[in-house]
């Protein structure tokens, strides 16, 4: 029985080729038939080769270490040579000699500078954000007086916007059967039976500015009349027109009267107008006795109004004309405005004094009182017109 050590002696001799030919053949035959022996041989081989490779590795490591040292030494050398060659006691380009601490610091810096940069930027950003934020917060809270002035300006702006909007939107309303589309359109209604009409001043702005060349009034029966501006009161948004067609005779007897006094809060009111090609009825209540921004020349009414309603008549339940529709406020729900009829009456009075071409005969009897709403409207709609402005 051979011990493991004996086998190892045999294997080693075999590897070195020291076995006699007979023994060698014998071993090879046994290796191929005996799996246990074969495994033993494999293990022996693995062990010795690992040992040899390990030795090799240690030598390589040593060699590489040596190479590194040599390289560092070679890097140092030129500086020394330079020193000798020049014959100077110091080198011309002195190598920076740095202390251990400084080298640590430099290593730290080169390793962490990206992180530090980011941290610094974040800090700076945070400081500025805080400062600006604080300032903004203070500005928002401290000055009440400034808020007040801003508010006033805002109202100014809104007022402009309100007017401008009704103009601009009016432009968009097309008139289908016209040969050329009108530039603006609004609503108007009869003031007297003999051809005077009332509308909003802003509807005919273009005519005043001489930009518009013609003013057409079109009734429910699509009958057209040329008209001209008699007077425009921009402050109260009122305008008086007169039909200048020769063949025009009369509107007929007006069914409504003009209220000279003020209407009451909460009164049911309605209007007729031409926000589109057909006449449209709108109903609501008188919700305030002052208009936009506290303007006492206007009522605030809760009638849904659209561009094109401007200049329409505003009547109360008895059929008294109490106002002329003027505009609406866009940022407030259901707030529309109408010029009070008392201003209209006063305007007509003042025009009478100026010796008009033709006298104004305001209607004196109201034919609408007591009639049901549909009947009122049937009478009324013949006296409400589309006012179209062409440029």
């Amino acid at each position: 029985m051979q011990t493991e050590a004996d086998y190892y002696a045999l294997f080693e001799a075999y590897q070195r080729g020291e076995l006699a030919a007979g023994a060698r053949a014998d071993l090879e035959a046994r290796l191929s038939t005996d799996p246990r022996l074969h495994q033993r041989y494999t293990e022996f081989e693995e062990l010795t080769s690992t040992l040899r490779a390990y030795g090799e590795r240690r030598r390589t490591r040593q060699m590489l270490g040596g190479l590194h040292e040599a390289m560092l030494a070679a890097d140092e050398a030129p500086a020394a040579e330079e020193k000798q060659a020049d014959g100077l006691s110091y080198s011309v380009n002195p190598r920076l000699s740095i202390s251990r601490t400084e080298r640590r610091l430099r290593e730290f810096w080169s390793g962490h500078r990206a992180t530090m940069g980011v941290a610094a930027s974040v800090a700076v950003l945070a400081v500025f954000c805080t400062l600006l934020g604080l300032q903004a917060w203070q500005n928002a809270h401290v000055p009440t007086i400034r808020n007040y002035t801003m508010l006033v300006r805002q109202i100014d702006n809104l007022k402009k916007n309100q007017r401008a909007l009704s103009n601009a939107l009016n432009q968009q309303v097309p008139t289908a059967p016209a040969e050329r589309p009108s530039k603006y359109s609004g609503t108007g209604f009869a003031l007297t039976a003999d051809g005077y009409l009332v509308t909003s001043a802003h509807v005919i702005t273009g005519v005043d500015a001489k930009k518009a060349d013609s003013l057409l009034v079109e009734g429910r029966d699509h009958k057209r009349y040329y008209a001209e501006t008699v007077y425009a009161d921009r402050a109260h948004d009122l305008a008086i027109l007169r039909i200048k067609d020769k063949d025009f005779k009369t509107f007929g007897k007006l069914p409504y009267t003009f209220k000279a006094g003020q209407a009451d809060l909460g009164e049911r009111v309605y209007t007729l107008g031409y926000p589109r090609e057909d006449v449209v009825y709108g109903e609501g209540a008188l919700s305030a006795r002052s208009g936009f921004g506290g303007d006492t020349a206007f009522y605030q009414v809760s009638i849904p109004l659209n561009p094109g309603n401007s200049g329409g008549p505003l009547l109360d339940a008895q059929g008294n004309l109490i106002g002329v529709v003027s505009g609406r406020q866009d940022d407030v729900l259901g707030a529309a405005f109408a010029t009070k009829s008392s201003y209209l009456v006063r305007l007509v009075d003042s025009l009478k004094n100026k010796q008009p071409v033709q006298p104004y005969h305001l209607p004196r009897t109201n034919q609408l009182t007591g009639a049901a709403r549909p009947q009122q409207l049937k009478r009324l709609q013949d006296f409400v017109f589309v006012v179209k402005v062409y440029e």
Binding site: E4, A5, D6, Y8, A9, E12, E43, F44, L47, T48, T50, L51, R52, A53, Y54, G55, R57, R58, T60, R61, M63, L64, G65, L67, H68, A70, M71, A74, E107, S110, G111, H112, A114
Partner: protein
């Protein structure tokens, strides 16, 4: 230097190293050290870290060259960069226990992802583990077996020298002793190597 001449120069260098030219290896070593040291210093390492990583990286390269099994699909520079990058990333991860370590790369040395360096590194790691086990087994083996085996296998000393060194009566006694030592080493080595 364009890439074809660079590849030609690389091939020449590899042939020289394979032939055992130590000056060629020294040249190569110096050539690529600045790149790796810069990379490690850039990524929060020290000069010593750079040295360790570079030595390790060159070792992988050198052993592959000596074996003749290096299949280089790129420049040596790129290969070394890839190996060292991987090694440093591994160290950083174990050191900082951070999972998402991000490295600042030098774009000049890309593309480092398809250099075959990964496979070579896995191979090298396996070999490292084997050597570590061997070193441990040798330590556990105790004297005089350890110095006997180290002398014979690692330092390539002849049996005669070892007989004289250890005071054996003749070379045969030394040989018998060596084989006994080998059987003990085998048990130690395979026990810990297989279980690991």
């Amino acid at each position: 230097m364009d890439s074809t001449t660079a590849l030609a120069a690389d091939a020449q260098l590899i042939r020289a190293i394979q032939g055992g030219d130590e000056r060629a290896l020294s040249q190569l070593y110096r050539l690529h050290w600045p790149m790796v040291s810069h990379f490690v210093l850039q990524n929060s390492g020290t000069e010593d870290d750079a040295r360790d990583v570079y030595q390790e990286g060159v070792m992988v390269f050198y052993e592959k060259v000596r074996e003749g099994s290096l299949e280089l699909s790129c420049q040596i520079k790129t290969y070394l960069y890839a190996v060292c990058r991987r090694l440093w990333l591994k160290r950083l991860t174990t050191k900082s226990r951070l999972h998402g370590v991000r490295l600042l790369d030098d774009d000049d040395y890309g593309p480092y992802l398809n250099t075959g360096a990964e496979d070579d590194l896995h191979e090298a790691e396996e070999r490292d583990r084997r050597f570590a086990t061997m070193s441990e087994a040798l330590t556990h083996l105790g004297e005089p077996c350890r110095s006997l085996l180290e002398g014979f296998y690692l330092l390539d000393k002849s049996m005669q020298d070892l007989t004289a060194e250890h005071g054996y009566t003749n070379a045969d006694t030394a040989k018998t002793q060596k084989y006994k030592c080998l059987t003990r080493l085998k048990k130690l080595f395979f026990a810990s190597y297989k279980e690991a």
